[in-house]
Amino acid sequence: MPDGAMPVLDVRNLRTVFRTRSGEVHAVNDVSFDLRPGELLGVVGESGSGKSVTMMSLIGLLPSPPAEVRSGQALLDGRDLLGMTPEELRKVRGARVGFIFQDPMTSLNPVFTVGFQLTEPLRTHMGMTRPEARRRAAELLELVGISDAERRLDDYPHQFSGGMRQRVMIAMALACDPEVLIADEPTTALDVTIQAQILELVKELRHKLGMAIVWITHDLGVIAGIADRVMVMYAGQVVEQAPVKELFTNPQHPYTRALLQTVPSVRGRRVEKLRVIRGQPPVLGAPPAACPFRPRCDHALARCARENPQRIALGSGHDVACFWDPATGEERHA
């Protein structure tokens, strides 16, 4: 670890499989990553690449069956989450790991007031009295920029706008002062001007509260603006990982490189023709025996059809799972 700090979360060799009627889906294949105190780790990848399943596997949020965590270890401050009982995991979710979901309406209950939903975990997990919890809940709403917080505790979710509901979600995730916050596409459903409000808020809160954050998104623009480090997923694997500036200036994996070229920008030079990544991402019925990106890759080598490349460290916290070396255009020498 370059900066020497102990990770708050250390995930090793995670494998998660869904057993469906039409066979197995290997959603997460040997994923390893860590999260350091106070850091914001961005996770990008296209639909179905395993971003959500990876994070949900860690805190026992997947329905089982059909989900099955086949192997791996996930140490939260040294204790393995994957070996915990459902009861222990519930406590972890309530108090130490906060979660924000993509669609606020799926996790806000429409029949309870926002105040009730905010105070409930404070009372059960932090042992607060009703008035204490209510005071804290109002504080949390204020923290996420909802004015007239005290009064709005008595409102129901549908009385808030989309952007405000997402703020309420953030407040709920922050309620018990978690060490780790996992945010799964928290702004994807929002308009850009509302997204900008939420991103500002997160930047501000990070400094105030100092927690470590995992931020899942498919928007490279969002990642560029807020992440310290980025992990790129493809077909249930981590194909590249690097500090944010390094990833954008010196991408190594052909998938990352192509992805950066297919997204246009509103600023800077306008490209005449968009670069295309041909084909489709695969659905994996078995753990990949070859590189899963090979059918779409412009640089595939003979070796890529025989072996699935392992992640190799390139120094300065950058690693990539690929045999091809963009510097030489040939096979990478270890």
């Binding site: 952007g163 409000q197 498919h218 500036k245 509103v266 990544i277």
Partner: protein, 350 residues
């Protein structure tokens, strides 16, 4: 690029278009108000160009696109397509005109009948509007599948057997079946993955060049619109607040809403992400059932003035081809543009 001698032909001319939906309430379903989804919109679309229509959720983009194609009976205004006024003619008279104007929808999943094969879906408009024989129809279906890059062997498959990008191709093939001139593309890439979006956008551009198509491209993705559109209209709460040639709009936006909108788009580049000065708008978009008095944007505008609260700004041409509805530009003929941009415009005009 613009040829001063021969002004571009107008395929679509929209004037003061209004689409209001009634709100009913109570036991007797009495009409208690209306949603002003589109509230006085005017623009032209030139032959062979792509007009981008951008704005946030609920501002009326889809309603505008659908109203232009007369999928609604419009409340007010005029729509001229290819020289013919269609704003208020009955649906019966519209039928023979339908082949010329088509629509591609946002959600390829929802807009394709799951019980029909791909061939049947693409062939449906041919059955309805042409007298082609079975064989001739199949030939045309294959031609269309080739044009959008779908394998002919998949003609007898069903939509669920295709990926999102492929389903969008099916929708595009169907829209092309009757040789339309004008296509409204309503968020055609919003449901697709980043790596697939470029495939569909490039296909639309290709087809435009080959077939001389004219597009209204509706999207909330400002970076993709910058890529595909030649001119761009920005909507806010039922009105077009700014309309300009693409490069002008992205380089020197005039309306405070356009400025905020563009500044809010995250940049896929950490170096420039640090440099951009973001304008963070406060609050949310007001309801189109109860828009503010004066300028629609006055409740969130960072540069709001007293006049904005009681007087609606007119949509005026402040420079050749540049329209804006904002009191900051009252009395402006030529906007204060950097010297280079002004020189460019002159260059264009000659």
């Amino acid at each position: 690029m613009l040829d001063a001698a021969a002004p571009p032909k107008k395929i679509v001319e929209v004037r003061d278009l209004k689409m209001h939906f009634p709100i009913h309430a109570g036991v007797f379903r009495r009409r208690v108000g209306e949603v002003k989804a589109v509230d006085g919109v005017s623009f032209d679309i030139h032959e062979g160009e792509t007009l981008g229509l951008v704005g946030e959720s609920g501002c009326g983009k889809s309603t505008c696109g659908r109203a232009i194609l007369r999928l609604y009976d419009i409340t007010e205004g005029s729509v001229v397509i290819d020289g013919r006024e269609i704003g208020h003619i009955p649906q019966k008279e519209l039928r023979p005109l339908r082949p010329r104007m088509q629509m591609v929808f946002q959600d390829p999943q929802a807009s394709l009948d799951p019980r029909m094969t791909v061939a049947a879906i693409i062939g449906e408009p041919l059955v309805e509007h042409t007298g082609l024989s079975r064989d001739a129809r199949l030939e045309r279906i294959y031609e269309l599948m080739d044009a959008v890059g779908l394998n002919r062997n998949f003609a007898n498959r069903y939509p669920h057997e295709f990926s999102g990008g492929q389903r969008q191709r099916i929708g595009i093939a169907r829209a092309l079946a009757l040789n339309p001139k004008f296509i409204v593309c309503d968020e055609p890439i919003a449901a697709l993955d980043v790596s697939i979006q470029a495939q569909v956008v490039n296909l639309l551009e290709d087809l435009q060049k080959r077939l001389g198509l004219t597009y209204l491209f509706i999207s909330h993705d400002l970076s993709m619109v910058r890529h595909i559109a030649s001119r761009v209209a920005v909507m806010y709460l039922g009105k077009v607040v700014e309309l300009a040639p693409r490069d002008d709009l992205y380089e020197t936006p005039l309306h405070p809403y356009t400025q905020a909108l563009l500044s809010a788009v995250p940049d896929p580049d950490p170096a420039s992400a640090e440099k951009v000065k973001r304008i963070i708008l406060q609050g949310d978009v007001p309801s189109p059932a109860n828009p503010p008095k004066g300028c629609n944007f006055c409740t969130r505008c960072p540069r709001v003035m007293p006049v904005c609260h009681h007087e609606e700004p007119a949509f005026t041409e402040v420079a050749p081809g540049r329209f804006v509805a904002c009191h900051l530009h009252d009395g402006t003929k030529i906007p204060e543009a950097p010297a280079a941009a002004a020189a460019d415009q002159q260059g264009d005009a000659t």
